[in-house]
Symmetry: C2
Subunit: 359 residues, 2 copies
DNA sequence: TTGTACGCGTTATCAG
DNA sequence: CTGATAACGCGTACAA
């Protein structure tokens, strides 16, 4: 009595017609799955001839490896999870661009999640990524993230965790950051060189490292010129365009007027610019302006806005490199590694006083 | 002598400490894995009491389902793959925002890939997504995509495929698009109403549906005013800012000058604006301008730029809805469904002629 | 160099 | 209502 012969090929109900698996190749060639596996993964114990046969048939049948199965088997996928606050503007897209580039070079794909500046969502994003068995997690934290316990799970699962740009100040973490203090120093120093002496500073949520450091750089530069800081001139907000406008209006009510404003973000300085123009106050002659991030629109406004470039692509690439280093050595539990990138000042019209007033 | 107590838990070498699985729950409760599975997936054949016991322990041990295993078993994940040309600017981030919103509401996570306007990369992105066993693929094609064979695999695997914004004109596909023709008609009609009679049009790669339709809308409006189109006034490029500037310079050399320019994209109209301002040509008095996409910077330039809003979030949401419909009925092989969204014209300073010249 | 056998965590099928 | 068992596709000790 002959065996049924036909049934071995099973079809998922109503789905995926024809997904060629290693077993198919093995059967077709009359070899074992092990051999096929080795041929495809370029293992050493494999005859050159059989290897070629396997690869050829794989190409012919258009074999596609099922990464899910491999990930399940190894407990590790070739996916890299990224969590950012948002993807509007120039900064995060550019960082992601750098991440994708470096990741794909190393054979990883990238999942991007947005927290929309919300810890709740950030927490869920992290869960999602862990459930997807990502090989690593790259994070720039949300504005209102104060508690970092949701990242403990990542580490406790042995998944490399790298923060970039916005990092927990209080925790021992691996991170890639810009030298925000230096950038803020440079831009403030530049304003001082232009003759400005009463410089306001628009800062963001104080618990975020980036705003702390930018503020410190601002203070450093003032100190370098022997100028005592005036708390009245430091205004804290969420740094939206509207916040910047509001802050500017507030500054204009001061009896002793400011001659420059340095905002820790470009959106805020844009808001300030709009208020000044609405009141026919000249920029930079009456008030010089400078921002931070070198957003695309800084070259569009009139006058164009001076700003600090954050080396976005480099930051993404560095984050991936750091991840790769951690991935090969998952032993050291608290290797606090920190990569610091140097900012670049872009001087534009909004802060150039012309030689008449120079210095 | 006390027993070792420890060993039953097996540890992957140097990785994932403690990932509690269904088997653990089953052993702990003295029931079968099947029961646990049913309790967790809210199956009908399950006693209310046991169900509660399982759920309680699951919470207590912080059980996290391994989606990979489920996806492998079912041949379907809860991941949605998205391929876009790029994520800079406002449009695609906003669409993605809409996608994420609708997807997460339906219990799906989203993977975003960029093709960087390159078919090669687009092809690889699609492969990556299929290998990740995504439940669906949402695509806006690259500028130089003329051949669509790489999408055949998606359909042949029974994975729902939805195009949005940029869709193959020649193929039978499911898609969500803006009524580009209507949008272009509205904006051109508006320029005509303002008194403009010699209106140039900056268009993009002709094989892309969006540019075809915008151009057609432009022609429709001219026809409605009884104006014969002038081929000399239609300039085709890749629609970058530089392209727009170049086109504007070219238009300025014409013996018979234009009194308006409508570009099928905001970057191009920005370039045109910069050239005009460089030459002290007044906007809108001498030349009126209008763009398409309602990018963020259109409200920043001086004068602010008239543009057509593309309903980005709605587009993303509609794409997900369409995907969900296809997902429940994977039978109909060529259900060409098309969702068309209505654009919205934002009239700003660059096209407002003031009542003096009106009409 | 090649093959055998097992397990990763889940779900579907069938039998009790 | 519950349980045993067999897959899903791949990698890897171990044996041959």
């Amino acid at each position: 009595m002959l065996p049924p012969m036909t049934p071995p090929k099973k079809q998922a109900p109503g789905a995926s017609p024809a997904a060629v698996s290693m077993a198919d190749l093995a059967r077709e060639l009359g070899v074992s799955m092990t051999t096929v596996s080795r041929a495809l993964s370029d293992h050493h114990s494999i005859g050159a001839a059989t290897k070629q046969r396997v690869l050829k048939l794989a190409k012919k049948l258009n074999y596609q490896p099922n990464h899910l199965a491999a990930a399940l088997r190894k407990g590790q996928s070739r996916l890299l999870g990224v969590v950012v606050p948002y993807i509007e503007g120039k900064f995060f897209p550019s960082v992601i661009q750098g991440i994708e580039q470096a990741a794909s070079k190393a054979g990883f794909s990238v999942i991007v999640c947005q927290s929309h500046e919300d810890v709740q969502l950030e927490r869920r994003n992290v869960e999602t990524l862990l459930n997807a068995q990502v090989a690593g997690v790259l994070v720039s934290v949300a504005r209102n993230t104060l508690d970092y316990h949701h990242f403990d799970k990542v580490r406790s699962r042995g998944v490399p965790l790298v923060f970039f740009d916005r990092t927990p100040a209080t925790e021992l973490v691996n991170s890639v950051v810009l030298n925000d203090r230096e950038g803020a120093f440079q831009v403030t120093h530049h304003l001082l060189e232009q003759g400005c002496r009463r410089i306001a500073h628009l800062s963001g949520p104080p618990h975020l490292n980036i705003y702390q450091h930018r503020r410190q750089g601002y203070l450093d530069a003032l100190a370098a010129f022997g100028i005592a800081p005036d708390e009245e001139l430091i205004i804290i907000s969420d740094m939206t365009t509207e916040d910047g406008a509001h802050a500017m209006r507030q500054l204009l009510t001061l009896p002793n007027p400011v001659d420059a404003v340095f905002a820790a973000g470009d959106s805020a300085i844009l808001g300030a610019l709009q208020v000044l123009k609405g009141q026919r106050i000249r920029v930079p002659q009456d008030v010089a302006l400078a921002g931070f991030s070198n957003e695309g629109f800084t070259a569009i406004t009139e006058p164009q806005l001076t700003s600090v470039d954050q080396r976005c692509e480099e930051m993404g690439q560095a984050a991936v490199r750091l991840f790769l280093e951690l991935a090969v050595a998952p032993d050291a539990p608290l290797t606090q590694r920190q990569v610091v990138l140097q900012p670049e000042l872009f001087v534009r019209e909004s802060s150039r006083q012309g030689q008449a007033q120079g210095r």
